[in-house]
C-alpha cells in the first residue's frame, strides 16, 4: 500500500482495522508487561543527557550567567536562541489538533496525540530558558503580578512580560487540551487493563468516564471550542515571541513582518520535528497502519508550504534593508552575508530555503529516509535562523566602538544538548505510559470510513 502512486489511493488507515483492533493495538503498547529493549536503551541514553543538563544548570547557578559566552554587546545568546527554537517546535501539536480539527482533517487523528505531547515537552524546555537566563533567576517570580510589599508590579509594556503571559497561557491550554483528549482513552486503558492497581491508576485519571451520549455531546462541543481558542493562541504565542525582537530598536530585529515570519517558521520547525519523531516511532512500534505514508506526505506538503513562506521572509528581509535605504539596516544584512557569521547565514539559507525545494517532488515526499534527513535538516536550519537573528543583529550594532563577538561556551552547548535529551526522555516516558494514538478518534475515523463505504 505504501507503494501506491496516487495520494488519494493511500488511505489514512491501514486495511482491516476495526474498533477492536485499533483499541487493542494501541492500548497494547501501554499495557504490555515487558518493556521493549529498544525503549530501555533509548531512554537510558536520554537519561544520561538529562544528567548533563542538570550538571550544566548547577554550574550556571553556582557561578552565574558569566559561564556562558555572553558579553555587554551580545547580551542574549544560546538561551534565547534555544527558547525561540523550542517554542517554535511547540507549535505543531496544538496546530494539528486545533486547526486541523476545525478543518476536519481526518488524517490528523493518528498524529495529534504525540504531536501534542511533543508540544508540551518542547514548551516545557522553552519555558526553562527565559528563567535561567536571567542574572538572578531566584527572583523571576517578580514577573508575576501579585500584591507585593514593594507595591511594585511588573512592567506591562515589556515584550518579555508578554512572553510570560503568552507562554504560561499556552502551556496551560495545551496541557488541558491534551488531558481532555486523553480522558476517554484513560477510560479505555482502565477497562482494558487486567491488573487492578493499573486500572485504579488510569481510573483516577479517567474521572469515571463511561462514554455516555450526553457526556460525549458536552465533550465534543468543549473540544471544538478549545480548538477554536487554541488556534488564535498558537498564532499569538509566536507573534509575541517575535515581539521580543520586533519591538526593540536593534537593526535586524526592528521589523514589522517578524510575527508572520516567526509563526510560519514555528509551524515549519514544528512539523519537521513531528516528522522526525513519527518516522522512527511508527517503525519501532509497527504503526504503519495508523501513521501511513499519506500522513507523512501531508506533513511534507505543509513543511514545503511554510518553508516557502520562511524563505520568502528571508528574501524580504534583504529587500527591506535595501529599500529602507537605512544605513544600519543595510549594514546589518551586509554583515550577515559577509561578516564573521556568514557561514551560519548561508547554511541557514541552504537548509531552510534550498533543500526544502526537494519536497516539490512526490518521489521525495514518499522517500521516507530522505524525508527524515530533510526534517532533521530543517530542525538545524531553524536553530541557525534564530542564532542569526539574535547574534548577528546584536554583535555589530549602532556604535562601531562597541562591536564584539559571541561564541557559545561548553556550558552553552551542554545546556542546549541537555534540553534535547530531556525532551527525548519525556517522549520515551510518554510512549510507555500513555496511548500514543488517540484511540477514540481513530474509532470515530473507522466509523466515518465505513460510512464512506471504503475499508470494510
Amino acid at each position: 500500500m505504501a507503494a501506491s502512486t496516487d495520494p488519494a489511493e493511500v488511505p489514512v488507515l491501514g486495511p482491516g482495522q476495526t474498533y477492536a483492533t485499533v483499541t487493542d493495538r494501541v492500548s497494547g503498547v501501554v499495557l504490555t508487561k515487558d518493556t521493549p529493549k529498544g525503549w530501555l536503551i533509548g531512554f537510558g541514553i536520554a537519561f544520561l543527557i538529562v544528567m548533563l543538563m542538570l550538571f550544566s544548570l548547577t554550574v550556571l547557578f553556582a557561578k552565574g550567567v558569566g559561564v556562558w559566552g555572553l558579553n555587554n554587546t551580545v547580551a542574549w545568546g544560546f538561551a534565547i536562541v534555544n527558547f525561540v527554537w523550542w517554542v517554535g517546535i511547540g507549535h505543531a501539536g496544538t496546530l494539528i489538533s486545533a486547526i486541523l480539527l476545525l478543518f476536519r482533517q481526518e488524517w490528523r487523528n493518528s498524529i495529534n496525540r504525540f504531536a501534542e505531547a511533543m508540544t508540551i515537552f518542547a514548551v516545557a524546555n522553552a519555558g526553562l530558558f527565559p528563567i535561567i537566563h536571567t542574572g538572578r533567576p531566584w527572583l523571576a517570580y517578580w514577573l508575576l503580578p501579585y500584591p507585593s510589599m514593594f507595591q511594585l508590579w511588573p512592567q506591562f509594556r515589556s515584550p518579555l512580560l508578554w512572553d510570560v503571559f503568552a507562554i504560561s497561557t499556552y502551556v496551560t491550554i495545551s496541557l488541558l487540551f491534551w488531558y481532555v483528549g486523553l480522558i476517554p482513552d484513560f477510560a479505555t486503558l482502565r477497562d482494558m487493563a487486567d491488573n487492578k492497581t493499573v486500572r485504579r491508576i488510569y481510573g483516577i485519571f479517567a474521572l469515571g468516564w463511561r462514554g455516555a451520549a450526553r457526556h460525549w455531546a458536552q465533550y465534543s462541543r468543549a473540544a471544538l471550542l478549545l480548538a477554536a481558542l487554541a488556534t488564535p493562541l498558537v498564532v499569538s504565542v509566536h507573534s509575541v515571541v517575535s515581539f521580543d525582537f520586533a519591538v526593540s530598536s536593534v537593526p535586524g530585529w526592528h521589523t514589522t513582518f517578524l510575527p508572520p515570519y516567526f509563526v510560519s517558521g514555528a509551524i515549519y520547525s514544528g512539523f519537521a520535528m513531528v516528522v522526525t519523531l513519527a518516522i522512527p516511532i511508527r517503525k519501532f512500534y509497527h504503526m504503519e497502519d495508523f501513521i501511513t505514508d499519506r500522513h507523512l506526505e501531508n506533513m511534507a506538503k505543509i513543511m514545503l508550504a511554510t518553508g516557502l513562506i520562511v524563505f520568502y521572509a528571508y528574501i524580504m528581509e534583504v529587500f527591506f534593508a535595501w529599500y529602507s535605504g537605512n544605513h544600519y539596516e543595510k549594514f546589518m544584512i551586509y554583515n550577515r552575508m559577509t561578516g564573521p557569521y556568514a557561514p551560519y547565514y548561508w547554511a541557514l539559507i541552504f537548509f531552510n530555503g534550498i533543500m526544502i525545494q526537494l519536497l516539490w517532488f512526490k518521489k521525495v515526499r514518499r522517500n521516507i529516509p530522505l524525508l527524515f534527513v530533510i526534517a532533521i535538516g530543517v530542525n538545524i536550519g531553524m536553530w541557525l535562523e534564530r542564532f542569526i537573528i539574535v547574534v548577528t543583529s546584536l554583535h555589530r550594532e549602532y556604535l562601531p566602538s562597541t562591536w564584539a563577538f559571541y561564541a557559545g561556551t561548553f556550558w552553552d552547548w551542554s545546556l542546549y544538548i541537555g534540553t534535547i535529551g530531556f525532551f527525548v526522555a519525556l517522549i520515551f516516558l510518554f510512549l510507555r505510559v500513555l496511548p500514543m494514538i488517540n484511540m477514540f478518534e481513530m474509532k470515530e475515523l473507522v466509523h466515518h470510513l465505513s460510512h464512506k463505504g471504503e475499508e470494510h
Binding site: M149, F150, Q151, L152, D191, R199, L207, G208
Partner: protein, 223 residues
Amino acid sequence: MSQIFHPSLNLIAKAMVLGVTLLLVVGSIVSYIFVRSPYMRGTTIAREQPVFFSHEHHVGELGLDCRYCHVNVERSGFAGVPSTDICMGCHSQVWADSPAIAPIKESMDENKPIAWNRVNNVPDYAFFNHSIHINKGIPCKECHGRVDKMGWTRKAQPLSMEWCLNCHRNRQDHLVPREEVFNMQYELPKDPAEREALQAALVEKYHVDIHQFNVTDCSVCHR
C-alpha cells in the same frame, strides 16, 4: 464488570476538587496578611541591648530631648547613635557607680565602642535621610513610635517599601509644626477641618512637594 472505586468516592472526589480550589484562595489571602504581620516585620520584638538603656526613662520620665543624644539628626542623613562620651556626660555623676552603667564606663576606659543592636534597619540599598524628614516637619514618632513608652527599644513601623510609599504619597497628612517634631506628646488637632488647615499651611510653609501625581522617583531612595 466490577467496580474499582467505592461509591463514597464520588462525594470525596468532588469534595477534594472543591478543597484544593479553596486552599489556593485561602492560602494566598493568608500569606498576603502574614508577610505584613507585626511578627514578620519584627515590630513585636523589643531587642535586648548591651547596656540596660530605657527610652521610657530618659525621654518619658526625664524628658530628655531626642537631640541630646542623637546629636546630628537635624544635620545628617544618619541620626547617629550617641558616642560613649555623651552617656558619660551625665553618668560620670548620675548613677556613676550603678552596675547598669558599668558597660559604658568600660567602653570609656578601654576605648572600645559599645556594640548596640540595630533596631530600625532598612536594607543597604535603601538610602534614608533623617535630616530632610526632620526639617520638613515629620515627627520622630511617625516612624519610631512613642519611644517614651518603650523600655527596650522596639521597631514601631514595618519599614517596608509599601509603608514608605504610603507616607510619601500623602505627605501632607503626616506633617506637624517644625517645633513639635521632637515632641512625643504632641497631638494634631482632633477636628479634621482644623487639622487639614494646619497641614495645608505647613505644606506651604515648608515647600513640601505634593503635586507629583503618585510618581515616586526610585532614585530618591535607591541608587
